[in-house]
């Protein structure tokens, strides 16, 4: 198991390397640079800036320089937020994003699996249909519609919750709902499907034959089999949730890291873009690994050696 984990992590290095290389050169090929502004800088100033940030060197040399720094764990200075290094920016924003994403993930898992299980137990009843309707709604309506509508209804019209900002526990409610809604929908749908199958399976029938109480059959025996597809879905979903959402952060005015990529890409803040790309790629790799290990723990038929 440990050997497998180590091998998987080592195997991810070439993928990460490719992603970094690709993003690096794509950013550099894009027209414009970090210091092109509406107000052009003096030639001498620009020259100095380029020299300090090594932008006067050929691109391949910059690339090697960047890789060298990266190997030492240095993501470089931000070109736009001059007083901060990329580490500092990500270090400030990441806790916010992880907090929000983690909450959303928990909420989604809890509500999603409860809804999915209830729908499966009452298949083809009105409960089932309303769960399907909620799921369809959650999947179809995009978050940039849900977020402002929630903010409008609960923040502006009803004044129940803050419409934006990051200063109290209540200000987390609306962003978490926005983030969790599509996940609730997908998880409920997955659980419903696999639960229906699990309830018909042999081991559940055996448990019934032994006369185990229904609650125990559902929670212990059926749910364990039914949550496998959810777990494989959770890998990429968790990585995406925990690394922040540009829409939610923009609408609710939150200081997470989701905005940095868009801002960085538009401002040609090369190092900041690379930093966010690396963070996201690492999250994806790590969560996929966790998912595979969890899978083995939950399903005795799966073995890694």
């Amino acid at each position: 198991m440990l050997g497998y984990a180590v091998r998987r992590l080592l195997g991810a290095i070439p993928t990460l390397f490719l992603i970094i290389t690709f993003a690096f050169f794509l950013m550099r090929v894009a027209p414009g640079g970090p210091f092109d502004r509406e107000r052009t800088l003096e030639a001498k100033v620009l020259e100095n800036l380029n020299r300090v940030f090594h932008l006067d060197k050929p691109v391949w040399e910059q690339y090697l320089y960047y890789l060298g720094n990266l190997a030492r764990g240095d993501l470089g200075p931000s070109f736009i937020y001059r007083d901060f290094s990329v580490q500092q920016l990500l270090g400030n924003g990441l806790p916010v994003s992880i907090q929000l994403g983690g909450m959303a993930l928990l909420v989604a898992l809890l509500i999603g699996s409860v809804l999915g299980t209830i729908a499966a137990l009452r298949q083809n009843s009105w409960v089932d249909y309303s769960v399907i309707a909620v799921a369809t709604f959650g999947i179809t309506v995009p978050n940039f519609v849900v977020a402002p509508l929630l903010s409008l209804v609960f923040g502006v019209w009803l004044s129940l919750l803050p419409a934006g900002g990051w200063n109290s526990p209540e200000s987390m409610v609306l962003p978490v709902i926005t983030l969790a809604l599509p996940q609730v929908a997908i998880i409920a749908r997955l659980i419903r499907g696999s639960m229906i199958e699990a309830l018909r399976s042999d081991h559940v029938r055996t448990a019934r034959a032994y006369g185990l109480p229904q609650r125990m059959i559902v929670i212990v025996h059926a749910l364990r089999a039914a949550c496998l597809p959810v777990i494989s879905y959770l890998g990429p979903a968790a990585a995406a949730l925990l690394t922040g959402s540009v829409v939610v952060e923009t609408i609710f005015g939150l200081p997470g890291i989701g905005r940095y990529f868009v801002q960085g890409a538009l401002n040609r803040d090369y190092t900041l873009v690379m930093g966010t790309v690396i963070i996201i790629a690492v999250f994806v790799v790590v969560f996929n690994l966790i998912v595979d290990l969890l899978y083995a723990a939950l399903d005795p038929r799966v073995r890694y050696d």
Binding site: F144, V145, P148, V247
Partner: protein, 380 residues
């Protein structure tokens, strides 16, 4: 499977009187029985008609600015409202240095009596014409000493059933033009994804072996790139050119298509008719074009209908971030983001575009699901 064999077997020697149905006819029948899909199809047709003809028939051009009507709420009543006309006429004439007397409103004409200490120049009517609200201003009576005057002007009454935006542009016309943009972009990017995905997938599946391996590894690597970020990088790369950008989006969205087509191709490759074609010496390109690609169409159509809403969503998302369509042209994403900024006090600016986008996405998704059920009953 009641819809396949319901009738009795015909007696021997007689030909069956009912014509056998093709796979497509069967699929269409199944689709017609799916009420959600048919309703979606109807809504979708409405959207397409609205997108094509709406901007031509809309009462206002989508880019026309009515500076007198900034952020007026949605209403079926015409603007200016009855009670506002008199003060607006006074405001328009205040610049003319006249002392306005009685102002009467009669239907859509306003009658203004005014006096001045000096002689009144007949060109004074231009002050009224200059405003968006009044037109065809004329002098009806003028006193002999030219110091008092009675003017009449037609009041221009405009309807903004969805209200106007923060620049005084008609929101209804803007929603219509956005629907056109969304549908066009959905079709364009899906077309590009279709072209690349089908050719790439079919080639990889057909050639097989090491080439297949390499081609699919490339797809896997592209898959692991954070997708939205990749789209944003493309926007950065191509600048803010919408058409180029959506060719690029199509160029990103082909990955699933390539996988589906490759899987189908591998299955088809071993079939006898492909081997027969090979034995007859048909070139690889010929086999692909004539035998492989036409046979992968079913799943491709299903995937395509589900790709259109995905692309429309992506376009709205990028436009929402300000990376998509640029002013004065607009898109549902742009309208929603403007609505979100102005939702305090002008909630209708958020509600109508959100409603339009949601309805469009729902219709496309339901239709896609319906088509999948109809074309591929195993996959239910």
């Amino acid at each position: 499977m009641t819809d396949i064999a319901t009738g009795q077997m015909p007696p021997e020697g007689e030909l069956p009187t009912t014509k056998s149905r093709s796979a497509w006819e069967t699929a269409f029948m199944r689709l017609r029985r799916n009420r959600a899909a048919m309703a979606s199809l109807f809504i979708l047709i409405l959207f397409v008609v609205a997108g094509i003809f709406g901007p031509m028939l809309a009462p206002h051009p989508y880019a026309r600015v009515y500076s007198d009507f900034v952020k007026v709420p949605a209403s079926l009543e015409a603007y200016p409202r009855q009670s506002e006309i008199v003060p607006l006429a006074e405001a328009a004439l205040s610049r003319a240095r006249l002392e306005t007397g009685t102002i009467e409103l009669d239907g859509n004409t306003v009658r203004i009596a005014a006096t001045s200490r000096r002689e009144i120049d007949p060109r004074v009517t231009r002050y009224l014409d200059r405003s968006d609200l009044f037109s065809n201003a004329r002098i009806v009576e003028q006193a002999d000493d030219k110091k008092s005057i009675v003017m009449e002007a037609d009041v221009q009454r405009l309807r903004f059933i969805f209200g106007t935006d923060a620049n005084g542009r008609d929101l209804f016309a803007r929603v219509l033009i956005s629907i056109r943009i969304s549908l066009m972009i959905g079709a364009l990017a899906t077309g590009v994804a279709l072209l690349i995905g089908v050719i790439y997938g079919a080639t990889a599946g057909f050639l097989g072996g090491r080439i297949d391996n390499i081609m699919m590894r490339i797809v896997d690597i592209l898959y692991s790139l954070p997708f939205t970020f990749f789209a944003i990088l493309l926007v950065v790369f191509f600048g803010r050119n919408v058409v180029l950008m959506f060719i690029a989006v199509g160029a990103v969205e082909w990955l699933d298509m390539a996988r589906i087509v490759r899987g189908q191709t591998i299955a088809l490759r071993r079939r006898e008719f492909v081997q027969a074609a090979e034995a007859l010496g048909v070139s690889s390109g010929g086999i692909l074009k004539r035998h492989i690609i036409p046979n992968t169409l079913g799943p491709v159509i299903i995937y395509m209908t589900l790709l259109v809403p995905k692309v429309i969503l992506l376009e709205s998302f990028l436009s929402f971030l300000g990376l998509g369509v640029q002013e004065p042209l607009t898109s549902l994403g742009v309208l929603i983001s403007e609505g979100a900024r102005n939702m305090r006090g002008a909630a209708y600016m958020l509600l109508y575009p959100s409603l339009a986008l949601t309805a469009l996405l729902f219709a496309l998704n339901f239709l896609g699901d319906g088509l999948r059920d109809a074309l591929d009953p195993k996959d239910r």
